[in-house]
């Protein structure tokens, strides 16, 4: 008697497989290649294949894979593109950044690709177990990457903190999965949804709701929402800047990816009835907490860490309405955020030289006179992160706030706008340092260390600047792309 083989439909997961296979190939060649930068370019090639296959799959109708465990719907594929952009820009930063610090190793690129694969799996997962798998693949690679600079104490500390707190959050998440499974009898997202709507489940079932709140805690940790944000500044500051750039966007986007699918597909009704207010409250404290803490920062990496917490709050505003418009606004925001935030980190990575400039904001004084173009790029990213037109950050905020207004939650949009005004203070503080303060006087005999811009990181900066400006003036292409993001 032949055994029935489950249908896998591997084609639906081509982007994920392209990235994972590239990671294995990178690990293999790491053993034989002396110039590790080749592996960085090889990784970019793998990401390009993943991007092309994602775009091609967008034209095909969504197909479930691995027995309804994952799906290649528009939502997953648009998210894939966000992860690929994030990974590619970070790899370009890494090619320069690691080389300056003698950290150029093949494992770095392999881990970064594994992490990207985990993110893609989180976006495509339609089963809580697969969400967890993606979460762990992503996180474990990130723990190692955060600690990658072995010669620096701060880096090891970052990795350790991230690992311990991350494991803690995973436990919350798993407990949530267990309770939801206990209540609904399934870990499949649509089956959980069916249980609520037609399967005899009831929206006030205590076990399911406790499970949902535990899942929310797990996700809130990954997206760094207040009050689960305490790890963020230390980890972002200690980790190598190229890794910080990657996880500030990638890990956040992946957390949102699975959270939004869970809330929309599984808890749709329970969410819009009772839970909107909980997520709205999370959004308000996250925006406000992140912005107020960012005001007090003296170190640019810590400042950007708190700013990324605030941005998680703005993105949560788009999640609250529970409408497909809100979801598409979230994706628009994430894509725009990928370019402007990684751009800002690229500037930090260039300036964070061993001796020239550390990451203290004060040391950015007089940058406009020394490197006018670099200062102009930083100015542009800061203005875009504040959310002023004509940059992509403005449209991102506009769309998420509009989704809230359309769902009769104007008060939430008002809180968001007030917070954007607060954030202007610290973003423009960097600009004031660069343009209006003179550089600190050098002592006699002390040499001014030149700031060197090498090829790859210049490409990141150029791409980030161009996209931030173009999408700011003409956001239609990205709007059209995110409008393809529907649940299959």
């Amino acid at each position: 008697m032949p055994i029935e083989i489950p249908t896998l439909n591997i084609a639906a997961l081509t982007p994920f497989l392209a990235v994972t296979v590239t990671a294995f190939v990178v690990m293999f060649f790491e053993l034989f290649v002396n110039d590790k930068r080749i592996l960085g370019y090889l990784s970019l090639l793998g990401l390009a294949v993943a991007a092309i296959s994602s775009v091609m799959l967008l034209g095909v109708s969504p197909a479930p894979a691995f027995q309804e465990m994952a799906i290649s719907d528009g939502y997953a594929l648009v998210l894939n593109l966000i992860f690929i952009v994030t990974a590619a820009l970070s790899i370009l930063i890494s090619l320069s950044y690691l080389g300056d610090r003698a950290l150029q190793r093949g494992e770095y690129y392999a881990l970064l690709l594994f992490s990207t694969g985990g993110m893609m799996l989180m976006g495509a997962a339609t089963d809580l177990i697969v969400v967890f798998m993606g979460l762990e693949i992503m996180s474990i690679a990130l723990y190692v990457l955060a600690a990658f600079n072995r010669r620096k104490m701060g880096s090891g500390e970052a990795g350790m903190k991230y690992f311990i707190l991350g494991a803690f959050a995973s436990a919350f998440f798993l407990y949530g999965v267990a309770l939801v499974y206990g209540a609904t009898g399934s870990t499949n997202l649509s089956a959980i949804g069916n249980w609520f709507t037609s399967g005899g489940g009831d929206l006030t079932d205590p076990i399911a709701l406790v499970g949902l709140s535990l899942l929310l805690v797990g996700f809130a940790f990954k997206i760094a929402a207040v009050p689960f944000q305490w790890w963020t500044p230390d980890v972002y500051q200690g980790a190598p800047t190229s890794v910080t750039a990657f996880m500030s966007v990638g890990a956040k986007a992946a957390g949102f990816a699975a959270l939004v699918r869970l809330l929309m597909v599984s808890f749709g009704q329970a969410f819009t009835l009772d839970w909107q207010i909980a997520v709205a409250a999370l959004a308000v404290v996250t925006m406000t907490g992140g912005n107020i803490a960012a005001l007090a920062q003296k170190d640019i990496k810590r400042m950007l860490a708190f700013s990324s917490i605030a941005h998680a709050g703005y993105i949560l505003v788009g999640v609250v309405p529970g409408t497909i418009d809100g979801v598409q606004a979230v994706l628009f925001y994430l894509m725009g955020y990928a370019f402007m935030n990684i751009g800002a980190f690229a500037v930090v990575a260039v300036l964070e030289h061993r001796v020239a400039i550390s990451s203290a904001i004060e040391e950015y004084a007089g940058l406009a006179a020394r490197k006018p173009l670099l200062a102009a790029a930083m100015l542009l990213f800061m203005v875009s992160l504040t959310g002023l037109p004509p940059f992509v950050g403005f449209w991102g905020k506009l769309y998420v706030f509009r989704a809230a207004v359309e769902a009769n939650m104007s008060w939430l949009a008002v809180v968001g706008v007030i917070n954007s005004a607060i954030s202007a203070f610290y973003y423009l503080g960097v600009v004031v340092q660069m343009y209006m303060r003179p550089a600190a006087a050098t002592e006699d005999g002390e040499e001014v260390v030149p700031i060197s811009l090498s090829g790859p990181v210049t490409i990141t900066l150029a791409v980030a600047v161009i996209i931030t400006v173009i999408l700011g003036i003409w956001p239609t292409p990205l709007v059209n792309l995110t409008s393809l993001a529907v649940f299959g």
């Binding site: 008697m1 032949p2 083989i5 690990m27 293999f28 790491e30 053993l31 209540a183 076990i207």
Partner: protein, 118 residues
């Protein structure tokens, strides 16, 4: 809903009670005649030498990790081998892919000198 989980609570209570009760009974019944030889740490019948708190070579854990490669391989290949005749051909290809992936890991550890003891 909650009633369905009742048996878990009952099971928990029983699993806690049985060992505790057994230990209490043993403690009540056993004769208590200690002497120095009896109180010594048991070490397979051999007298203990030196301090208990010694440092192990941390390198050892790398062997343990490499061993996991073979462990995983065995766990997945045994059921595969048993069912081989009933499986279509392409499942064999997947088994080979699986072994290649594990081999990549082993090769990586090998080339990095993880199997080299010094």
């Amino acid at each position: 809903m909650l009633q369905e989980f009742e048996f878990l609570g009952v099971l928990g209570a029983i699993t806690l009670t049985i060992p505790v009760v057994t230990l209490i009974i043993a403690w009540l019944l056993r004769p208590k005649k200690p002497n120095p030889a009896k109180q010594e740490t048991y070490e397979s019948g051999i007298k203990t030498i030196g301090d208990t708190w010694v440092q192990f070579k941390a390198q050892y854990y790398i062997y343990a990790i490499i061993f996991v490669v073979f462990d995983i391989e065995a766990v997945f290949l045994f059921p595969f081998a048993v069912a081989l005749r009933q499986l279509p051909l392409y499942s064999l290809i997947w088994a080979i892919v699986f072994i290649v992936l594990l081999f990549d890991g082993l090769l990586y550890g090998w080339r990095k000198g993880a199997l080299h003891w010094n």
